[in-house]
Symmetry: C2
Subunit: 259 residues, 2 copies
């Protein structure tokens, strides 16, 4: 059984404030825990139901963190999910910084104030799928170690680096040859557009799009065209995670054709 203090400690990680203070986050479910254990992340503690124990012991003998068998009731107390998923891991937030000597040699994603945790998680998952390993976020973007983000990444948080920084400062230190593409209403169709191999794709906030300040640094405006019917209205915009995924897919399609 978990002590009151243990429960309090883990529950504090439901809040951003304590995640930052303690440098820890929560990940749930056997699959995600498995992926984190095999990745470079440092899993500090694992709390799991008796049923989940044999699998855990069989598969992680070599990489075993401290673990505690807990009752279903206790798991419900510490879980961030409505229906807890057998295993909860407490994991260290990695202390990594962008490598400015390499960042401009690759394709990266830049998020300008994405607010919805599900959207950020889905974007990280799609970035992983399309081989984009670095995401830079404005300081007002939702936190990548928010439990809802972590769960929505479906493990991709292990393979994509997410950094938070002052975007304007970042743009200013970028080489002038490095292209920043921004998704904007007046842009040209991504299908008529030629993506450079090393480039940054900027995705704006769910309701406001890319901020004025960041727009100043956009070198090429790109857009996903809606299907036009004269007689009918159409959607005004796409979901931000969908838009980001469509642009990354098209970037990757073009690069695959070139090689």
């Amino acid at each position: 059984m978990l002590s009151k203090n243990q429960i309090k400690h883990i529950r504090s990680l439901h809040q951003k404030k304590f995640r930052n203070e303690l440098g820890l986050f929560i990940a749930e479910g056997p699959k995600l825990t498995e992926e984190l254990l095999q990745s470079g992340y440092r899993v500090k503690e694992v709390y799991l139901l008796a049923d989940a124990l044999p699998d855990f012991q069989k598969n992680y003998a070599t990489n075993k963190p401290e673990y505690f068998e807990v009752s279903r009731k206790d798991l419900e107390r510490i879980s961030t999910l409505k229906t807890p998923n057998d295993v909860l891991a407490v994991v260290e937030i990695p202390a990594i910084k962008p490598d400015y000597s390499k960042i401009f040699e690759q394709a990266i994603l830049i998020l300008d104030d994405i607010q919805d945790p599900g959207n950020l998680g889905t974007i990280i998952r799609s970035a992983d799928w399309f081989g984009i390993k670095t995401i830079l976020c404005s300081k007002n973007t939702v936190e990548a170690f928010n439990p809802k983000v972590v769960q929505a990444t479906m493990g991709s948080i292990c393979r994509v680096d997410v950094f938070y920084l002052d975007l304007a400062l970042f743009f200013e230190r970028a080489p002038t040859s490095y292209p920043f593409y921004g998704t904007l209403l007046e842009g040209q169709s991504i299908y008529q557009f030629d993506f450079e191999k090393a480039c940054a794709i900027i995705i704006g906030n769910e309701s406001r799009g890319i901020s004025r300040e960041v727009q100043n640094f956009v070198k090429e405006k790109i857009k996903i065209l809606p299907y036009q019917r004269d007689d009918k209205e159409t959607a005004e915009s796409l979901n931000a995670a969908v838009a980001a995924s469509l642009v990354m897919a098209e970037y990757r399609r073009q690069q695959s054709k070139k090689t």
Copy 2:
């Protein structure tokens, strides 16, 4: 001020059971209410804050439903949102059926047990964007008039028809010439694939994919390829709404090139 009975009535619509029984659903926010009022939907009642009243009276003089000014407290009581958005509409669920004389002349989307309301809402929004007007859902797919779905459509629920039916029966009555494309792991890349103009795109459940039963009716298997890196693992799958959107985008891109 709303009576206890009014509040109880509206709150009952938070539940699927009562939505079905009463044939009503809830939509929130001035923008969504505006779109519903301009669409073919029948808006029965509108509940709104005093602040939202002038705009509402100015813009909907000709199409005005019964409306009630409510306090912020009452709006919180009847809202499905954590932060209510000024206006709440009670709307009739339309009594429409698929038109089998026309359905096989167009591109449609088929959803096999999509469970997440946010995913369904996002799929409806993307379908609207890419000009796909009809979505057929298996009976176990999450309900389109679930408040979370309605909100995630961002108004596209007004322009896309969503039907629930026994998919096996539907497949059996389809003409043999009508192609069903299914997103499956062993499929061919959507970018190497030639979509017919009239076709159905089938998207499976978030964790199980397309069910065995539905797979029997898939004529061509398609797939969104991940970026392959030899040295690294990659995401196992894409979010279902992202996958659906990528396939619809590619369908639309191909059709636009042909015209």
